[in-house]
Each structure stands twice: as C-alpha cells, then as structure tokens.
C-alpha cells in the first residue's frame, strides 16, 4: 500500500486543570461521564490511532462534539495533546520547538477553516498571498504566485475585492487558494464546506477533487456530512466521543458497519452510488454476463446487468477477469448493511 504521511498514535486530549494526571485514569478505563462528574475534566480525544496515507484524502467524520475539530488541530499543534504522538514524515511534531513548529506550519501543513478565517482588511489577492508573505517571500513574487492560485480556484477578476464583498462560497475559494499557495504537502480542512449551502458545497467538492487530481496533496478533511465523506474520502475514520470507532474505505464501512452507531449513521445514504460492484465480487462459474470494469458502481452495474438479462456480470481489470458478481448479491449489498464485528474486513 502507499506510504504513510501522517501517523497519529495513542493520542489523548483531556481538557481541565490537571490533564496529565487524568491520562492514567482514562487509560485504566474511566468513562467520559465519570471523568467529568468526579474530576471535572473533559475527555476530548481517547486513544486515537490513524495512519494517513500520502496523497490520499483522509476524511474524519463525526457529529458535533465528537472531537473531530480538536483532532485536526493537533496535527499542526494549534492544540497541544495530553499524551500520544503525531509523526509527520518520520518526525514527531510534538518534539518541535516553537520555531520549528512555525516552519512546519508555514511550509508543510496549511489549513482551511469552517468560518474561512480570512483577513477582512485585506483584498483577495493579499489574503491568498498571506502564507507566502509570512514565509518571508517578497511581495511581487508572492502576488504573482497567488494570482495563479486565484485562477485555479476560479476567482479571476476578484483579486481586488475585499472578503466581505464575496459570497460564502467565493470566500472559501479564497481560503482554499490561500492554503494551496504555500505549497504545503498537507492540507488540513476543518469542516471547510460545512458553512456553504448544498449546491455550492457540491461545487466546492468538485473543485477540491479536480485540484487533487493534479496536486496529489495529503488532505485531512473533517466533516459531519456522510455524503461529503463518501464523495471525497479515500479513507474514512468515524469519530465518536473522542474515539475512532471505525476506519477504512467507504465501502468497508458501508458493507460492514462495526456497531449500531455506525449502522445508524449510514442508513440513509444511497449505497448503490457508493459501492462498487467489485465489493461483492465472488467467483462463481455459473454466472455469465457482460464484462464490467472493477471501478463501476453498483448503481451502474445493475443497469448494465438488467439490460443484458443475465444473472450477473464478469468483473475485469485492465481486460483481465477478476471475478464475478451476481445480481442478487448486488441487490443484497444495497438493500441493508450487515453488522460485523470484524473491523479488519477483507474488503480493501
């Protein structure tokens, strides 16, 4: 598999007066409620372990209060963890000095915010060049480089507007351009599109995906919206009460939700549009039918198969037969989610 870019290991965050002394209690199994009632401390993150692959979009999703915004702020240390480690490119960012940390933030990890966080007193072009100017790059060059990013997020012509003169969607394009302009390999996106209305949000997702096709950044994307998570995420981690309860690809989570919470979470989504026919692939010789590529989603596969009148389809990859899927399996897959306690399921 691909290389690990960011590795979060045994990360704990406890808010309160004496968080260090509480870590042992939490590790020993004290519940969030007990911690709050008996010791007045709030459990923010509980033993979070996530390996984020290079050039992937890692979505971290959870409802409000699940600790997802806290988690993403640990990656550039806007929040200090109570225990654990965060390794980026084989370097523990928790051991960095303030100066090293500033350099890390300037050149390695940039961030896009839910509320945009634009500088209201600066024009679009100045906002986009903000990170570059902080790095100490001279103004003409910074502005020149920013212009390219403004163009790539589709904001040409608005360079000299102030943020307040733009709509929410356009403001977030500025935020995105600002984050991309620093050329950091890691892009942290904290509910970046949550404040936008649905159509604009979908637009922005497309903008992000098409940029990612060219740029291949390591993106950590926080959201509470499952559709968004499924659309963007190469990998998804579901966070609840500060703990990761399930992680893996979208297919894996949909096919094998680990518990009732996740099942509940995914019950309203259109599985046919997310799952690929490959995910229910078997190898039965009696199945005959049209050949479909392994990337085809069930929604399309069902159409092809039912048109052909066969009992299934052959899945191919680069023209090579990989296996077969039956019509019934595909229907079963989108009909309901099975419960499965085995988190390392076979599907990858």
């Amino acid at each position: 598999m691909s290389e690990i870019k960011v590795s979060i290991k045994n990360l704990y965050k406890i808010f309160g007066k004496h968080p260090e002394s509480m870590v042992e209690k939490v590790k020993a199994g004290m519940s969030k409620t007990d911690l709050l009632e008996k010791h007045g401390h709030v459990l923010g993150l509980y033993d979070v372990n996530i390996d984020i692959k290079k050039k992937h979009i890692q979505v971290i999703m959870g409802l409000s209060g699940s600790g997802k915004s806290t988690l993403i702020r640990h990656i550039n240390r806007l929040i200090e963890p109570t225990a654990g480690s965060i390794i980026v490119d084989n370097e523990d960012i928790l051991s960095m000095s303030q100066t090293e940390l500033r350099d890390f933030r300037r050149s390695k990890a940039s961030m896009v915010f839910q509320k945009f966080g634009l500088l209201p007193h600066r024009k679009v072009i100045e906002n986009v060049s903000y990170g570059l100017l902080i790095q100490g790059i001279n103004k003409p060059e910074a502005l020149d480089r920013s212009n390219q990013w403004i163009e790539s997020v589709g904001l040409s012509g608005f360079e000299n507007h102030y943020p307040a003169q733009l709509s929410g969607g356009m403001q977030q394009r500025v935020g995105l351009a600002r984050a991309l302009a620093t050329d950091a390999d890691i892009l942290l996106m904290d509910e970046a599109f949550s404040a936008l209305d649905p159509l604009i949000r979908s637009d922005m997702q497309d903008v992000l995906l098409s940029l990612q096709d060219k740029l291949h950044k390591t993106i950590i994307f926080i959201t509470h919206d499952l559709d968004e998570a499924l659309k963007l995420g190469d990998d998804i981690a579901i966070l609840r009460d500060g703990a990761v309860i399930q992680s893996g690809t979208a297919e894996k989570i949909i096919l094998h939700p680990i518990d009732d919470y996740v099942t509940d979470f995914i019950k309203d989504i259109n599985k046919a549009r997310v799952l690929k026919a490959r995910s229910v692939m078997g190898n039965d010789d009696f199945i005959t039918g049209p050949e479909i590529d392994e990337t085809v989603i069930i929604e399309d596969a069902l159409q092809i198969v039912s048109k052909s009148g066969s009992n299934g389809a052959i899945i191919v990859k680069n023209g090579q037969k990989q296996g077969t899927v039956s019509l019934t399996d595909m229907i079963m897959a989108i009909a309901r989610a099975e419960k499965n306690t085995d988190s390392e399921a076979v599907y990858r």
Binding site: N76, R102, R105, M111, F113, P120, Y130, L133, A164, Q165
Partner: protein, 294 residues
Amino acid sequence: MSLLTEFPKMGRTDLRDFKKGIDESFRNFTREYGEAIENFFDPLLYFLVWLEKLFLNTPWPIILFVIATLVYLGSSSIKLTLGAILAFLTIGYLDMWDDTMATLAIISVATIVCISIGIPLGILMARSQRTQMIITPILDVMQTIPSFVYLIPVVMLLGIGKVPGLLAVCIYAIPPIVRLTNLGIRLVDKDVMEASEAFGANYRQKLIGVQIPLALPNIFAGVNQTIMMALSMVVIASMIGVKGLGVPVLRAISNQYLALGIMNGLAIVVLAILFDRVSQQFGRRLQAHTESSK
C-alpha cells in the same frame, strides 16, 4: 463596650507621624531627584514651547488654511470643513485666538504623548492576563482619583509650569486609549487569529498584520476619547501654569465675569466638537473597506 460605639482608630500622634513620615520621605525624594526628573522632561517642554510658538507666530490665515486642510483630509466633508473655518474665524474675532492656539498646542502634545505611551501599554495589556490584572486597577485610579490629588505630588516634584500641567492632563487622558487598544486587540475575531497562527505567523506578524489593523476602529475611539478628556482638563491644568483657554475661564470664576467664562468655555467646546467629528469620521473611513459594498 466602647469598641462598638467608637471605631478603633490609630492614635492621634501615630497618625500625624505616619502622614508626616510620608510627606517627609516624598519631600526628600523630591529634593534628591526633582532636578533629574525635571531634566528628563526637558525635551517635552522644548517641544511644547516650540509648538506653541509655531502656532502663535504663524500668520493666522496659514493656520486657518492648515486646520481646514487637516479637517478636510480627516473627514472628507465640506460641511465640517466650512464649520471649522467659521468656528475659528469667530474665535479669532472674539479675541481668543492666542489662547486657542496655546490650548491647541498643549492638547496636541498631550495627545501625542498619550498615544505613544498608551498604545504600546494597551498592546502589552492585551498580551497577557496578568498585565491586564495589574494595569486595570491603575487605570481605574487614574480615572477616578480627583485631579487635585495628583496635582499635589506633581507640583511638589516639578513646581508650577507647563510640564506638570501636561503631566496632569496625560494622567487623566491616557486611560481610554490604553483600555480601548487592549479591548480592540482582544476583540479581534478568534477565527482570523487562529488562521494567522495556523499559517505560522509569529507574534510580530500577528500583531502588525492582523491585530492592530483589525483593532484600529477601537484604537481610534480611544484616541478620540483621550483628546476629549485632555480638553476637559484644560481649566485644571491652567491652575498650575498652563497657558490657554483655561486661564480666562479661571479668571472668570474668581471675578464672576460671566461673558468671559462662557466665551472661553464655548471655545473649548468648539475645539472638542471639531476634534471629535474629525477623528470619528476618520475612524469610520478606516473600516469602510470591511463593509460589504456590492
């Protein structure tokens, strides 16, 4: 039983000695360091005298022109500019020109002093909770203590004259600029600050690039308040030897000259209104670009 009816107090001799002791030690301090402190303020005195002379010796049409230009640049309002010209013509016609110039000089110097001390102090105060905890009560004292009370040590130390007057004005006028600078910086949008932090800005970059520009409307309100309070100290300052519109007011009080008092009082009011309107307009223009103007 007498403990209940009579408040337990310090013995009369002890109390007298206590007060005497404080007076004595301050007097000693004055004798020891008075001259050094006076010398320390000399540059300020020279500047004040120079400015006053400049205002007084420059032909009045030039002054009027400069004032009108400044008002227009600050407010970009023709109406206000014409009002200012008219006000100053009236002041001159009623023989208050020289006093007004003297007042203008001391207010200008006091404002410059207050800004150059107050804004850094406000920034320091915004930086940590502890400095805020220390400075806030000091500002409270400065604002509420009757001005005559701090005139005593100031006069003991520096005698009667322009510098002690200026000091008295500054003590009274500096709190708003400090407070509003602190407040302005603390009120800067947390999200913007976080973004700046996330892009690796250091303290200076955050302060100059984000906090001060965004706090500017509040800082300007502070400057405005400081000027207003400095003007309101003009009469008290004139008691310890500051020239200007306060002197005739003082004379009017002791001799019951109604017209003289009202005229000079109104001249102070006119100055105050002008300063206020111009600085407010200017402050408003500073933040105009952040408003939506589709």
